[in-house]
């Protein structure tokens, strides 16, 4: 990760700045100021070559006849940090850190103010005495530069520790640091005569020494110099509470920032790369389930937007942390159990079931009070929708894996016997058949007096409904098992070579798009965008007019599942067993739901739920906005097709040969 702009300084030797009392912030804290004539972005690394004023001290130089410069240990916008030997102790090697701050202001009055502020704040620092605060030995201003001489701290700051480690810190470790931080904040906040607000709590300002003791460091005193340079940095600090941006600095600012620091340590999610004040959008235990609910509660309390809802003192927060430490060891954890309670599988009773002689792999169709279902036993069945009563069946010479469609008293369906059959819904008698040169596994669609259907012969066929003759066919580059999607006089379909086609009603190819592997799923077109999944383990969004791909999203495995669109969402399944929900505009994952086997059936949206079957044998009902499970219903074998719904009844077949009707 790139170092934050505010962490340019070597993290080992840093400086303290404490905001004293409740006085109004004199120093601009945050991010980038734009568009205002009197403010400007500073150059963060100001050490331009040839700029005499910014020249570094060189090794061997004796500063104010006392500090023998050894080497540069950090460079920042305000100047450098050096390791030096204090020559007042000639017989002992006493090493100190010397931080230099260069006064860049050209205005004499401003320069003077900067120096005065520096000296006033340094005076306060000198008076502090706490094991978590480094000692200040000396400070002085020499020519255009001010210097702070301070204790060398051996150790690493928490930001470095975070970036060098992998995985989460143990909860006990974080609590130990947090308690120490509360201690030092309590010391500062109760400082007399005026409380001291640290005001810049963040991982990079917390050092951990070899004894696992924390030491607060800060370069904040340099901010006076930054102001003098009319500048600040881009990007927020990420750890500061909202009220700090109104210019309010109270001890509660530090409480929030400590909460933010702990949140970062626990979740490893850097708040500086997230929008400000969005910790609540990254729930701790969702990211790091090993954390106790009690510690999460403490951190959430510290992170309240409203200062009055936080711990009112560092001591109170420490007390809460101590309680967590006591509890987590001794008490059994309280289970979360906040998600809505899923109905037990046994409580869902089918309205009726109907058993075919072989698997039901395809989707059923509902029309006018009847259910039409094709089975791998070669038959198309017609059932009464309200009670599942058998009406008639029509035998073909091949398995039926596609979804039938009913139009004007005729049910149309493809079969592996290479034919598209048209059967009267009243009599169950054949009206006509249309031959292709391969098994028909694509589901027919009807528009403008034509049937559109793909075949394993590698063509998409357009068949005139009246004449039952082919109007045209379009050659694809592989078997067409994908069900065509028709909108705006255009037909969209995929094929097993991975190509997706857009053809017009004359059979002219408008565009083609090539996925890396087969596109068996049906495309869905919505608001000018085409969505389809592929066996190449991606879902694509393609512009409907130009065929240019807008985005793609990678799944764990390939997919046969046709996406469905609702609101701004696109929902689909994958062979990795997951039902995904993405933002259709930018492919951002909204939620995912893991089933126990491949999800090859397509989801169905009805009211506020999504229904989707899985090869684990379950039909799942999830809240489509959140992906939370409402209920699941077990069948005896994989469910490979999409359900249909009518009047609050869900109809679907399973590879256990059974057609189910479930009230929802």
């Amino acid at each position: 990760m790139l170092p934050a702009a505010s962490q340019i300084f070597s993290s080992v030797f840093m400086f303290l700045l404490f905001q004293v009392g409740h006085r109004h912030l004199s120093i601009l804290l945050w991010s980038s100021f734009r568009g205002r004539p009197n403010l400007s972005t500073q150059q963060i690394t100001q050490n331009l070559p040839g700029q005499e004023a910014d020249k570094q001290l060189i090794s061997g130089e004796l500063l104010v006849n006392r500090y023998l410069i050894q080497n540069v240990i950090g460079v920042g916008g305000m100047g450098s940090v050096y390791r030096a030997r204090d020559m007042h102790f000639p017989s002992a090697v006493r090493l100190v850190a010397v931080k230099e701050m260069i006064n860049h202001s050209r205005d004499a009055l401003v320069r003077q103010t900067i120096v005065q502020n520096f000296e006033r704040e340094a005076n306060i620092l000198v008076s502090l005495s706490h094991p978590a605060v480094p000692r200040i030995f000396d400070y002085f201003t020499h020519e255009d530069r001010s210097y702070l001489v301070m204790e060398c701290v051996n150790g690493k700051d928490l930001e470095a520790i975070l970036s060098e480690s992998q995985g989460f810190f143990p909860e006990d470790q974080v609590i130990e640091w947090a308690i120490q931080l509360c201690d030092v904040l309590q010391y500062l906040h109760t400082h007399k005569p005026e409380p001291i607000i640290f005001r810049d709590m963040k991982p990079s300002n917390v050092m951990v020494n070899q004894y696992n003791q924390i030491i607060l460091i800060d370069f904040g005193i340099a901010k006076a110099f930054k102001f003098g340079q009319k500048g600040t940095m881009i990007g927020t600090e990420g750890y500061s509470p909202p009220e700090q941006y109104r210019g309010e600095a109270s001890p509660l600012v530090d409480i929030y920032a400590l909460g933010a620091t702990l949140h970062h340590l626990i979740t490893r999610r850097d708040p500086r790369v997230e929008p400000p004040f969005t910790f609540a959008e990254r729930p701790i235990r969702q990211i790091n389930p090993a954390i106790s609910i009690e510690l999460e509660a403490v951190i959430n309390t510290a992170l309240q937007y409203n200062p009055t809802e936080r711990f009112q003192t560092a001591e109170a927060m420490k007390e809460a942390l101590m309680n967590v430490a006591r509890k987590t060891g001794a008490l059994t954890r309280i289970s979360m159990g906040t998600s809505s309670i899923a109905a037990a599988p046994s409580t869902i009773k089918p309205l009726w079931t109907f058993e075919c002689e072989d698997q039901v792999r395809g989707s059923v169709a509902y029309d006018g009070g009847y259910i039409y279902v094709g089975s791998y036993d070669n038959n198309l069945y017609t059932l009464q929708a309200d009670n599942g009563k058998f009406i008639w069946k029509y035998p073909t010479d091949g398995g039926i894996v596609s979804k039938p469609i009913v139009y004007d008293g005729v049910v149309y369906f493809g079969s592996e016997d290479h034919r598209v059959h048209s059967v009267s819904v009243r009599s169950g008698k054949i009206i006509s058949t249309y031959y292709t040169d391969g098994p028909v596994r694509s589901s027919p669609r009807i528009a403008e007096g034509h049937i559109f259907v793909g075949s394993d012969d590698g063509f998409l066929h357009a068949v005139n409904l009246l004449s039952n003759r082919r109007a045209w066919r379009v050659e694809a580059s592989g078997p067409v098992r994908s069900t065509p999607f028709i909108t705006n006089e255009q037909v969209f379909f995929g094929c097993e070579s991975g190509e997706v086609f857009c053809v017009d009603f004359r059979g002219q190819v408008k565009w083609r798009f090539k996925a890396k592997r087969a596109v068996t799923s049906s495309p869905v077109v919505s608001q000018g965008a085409v969505f389809f999944t592929s066996l190449d383990a991606q879902i694509y969004a393609v512009d409907a007019k130009s065929g240019w791909v807008t985005w793609r999203f990678r799944m764990g495995k390939g997919s046969l599942s046709s996406p469905c669109r609702v609101d701004n969402l696109v929902i689909f399944g994958s062979a990795d067993g997951i039902i995904y929900c993405l933002d259709a505009g930018n492919a951002k994952e909204i939620w995912r739901y893991q089933t126990d086997h491949q999800v090859s059936g397509s989801p169905l949206i009805y009211k506020d739920s999504v229904y989707c079957g899985s090869a684990d044998g379950y039909m799942y009902c999830l809240e489509y906005r959140t992906g939370r499970l409402r209920w699941k219903f077990q069948t005896g074998a994989p469910i490979t097709a999409a359900p249909v719904i009518n009047s609050d009844v869900l109809y679907f077949g399973s590879n256990d040969h059974i057609v189910y009707a479930i009230p929802v």
Binding site: R34, T236, A541, A544, W551
Partner: protein, 326 residues
Amino acid sequence: MFDFIKKLFGQKSEPAVADHPTAPEDEQEKSAALPVGEVFSDVEPSESEQILTAPLADAQDFVNPGGAVEPAQFISVVGQSVGKQRDHNEDTLFALSAILATDASSQPLGIYIIADGMGGHQHGELASGVAAKTVANHLINRLYAPFYSLDPEPPSDPLQEMMKDAISEAQRMVIKQVPGGGTTLTAVVLLGEQMTLAHVGDSRAYLIHPDNRFQLISHDHSLVQRLVELGQITDEEALTHPQRNVVYRAIGQMEPFEPDISTLPLPKGGYILLCSDGLWGVVPENKVLSIIRENSDLGEASRLLLKAANDNGGPDNISLVLVKCP
């Protein structure tokens, strides 16, 4: 496959995009009408009026009032003014309206970018110039060039990934070439039925629908926006908040970030407006809407928008791109 390429925009005999967009240091005099595809940056105001508009050179020839333009195309205008209170311009604009028209079909493409540099000294305009040029360059190479390829297959890389890469590249270049500088960047690519938006910072993209809905489609990465969302301040307070110019996300910041990228349907028969906060923070939305609705001449609309911002004090640089959708 395509018989010929017909460019309907800009100077007809010239390439629609300048190969070497004007460098920000370039102080040469700009004429009022600039060819589309130019990067406008650091434009000095003219003596008489601190307003610069750049209508499409010949677009009006194709506009027949009351009728649709044939073939369907994106007609755009850019406008820029230094404002009344700043001494120089730190915004950068880019506009490219292109079309691939054959006897059988026409395929319009539009790429529009607005970048609002931050900070004083030379950094603001450098950052916005570097960012806009880098993004334009990236999109031209990966999106615009294949558009005119004889091979009719569209590029295999998703548009959103191209735009994301373009932003990453701009981020890299700004950090490298303008350390300490920063810029907002709002870019749209109009193609087919959809538009794809890439956005960082607090410049804005609006849709003006034919039914007069004025829809903000970008999300300000600004401190005040977050404070408004949290209920800490009101919308009104946000407009006058002392930190209203603070953005938490900008090209040039040291921390890595994800730009906002999204695709949405084009507002058919409506407009797309990109603008810097010198416009949206100064001229009320209903005023912007009425100017656009009442002026079918885009150049005039642009001029009036700049004037409205300057009449309200012109506290900041004003930049805008206004696009009419077929």
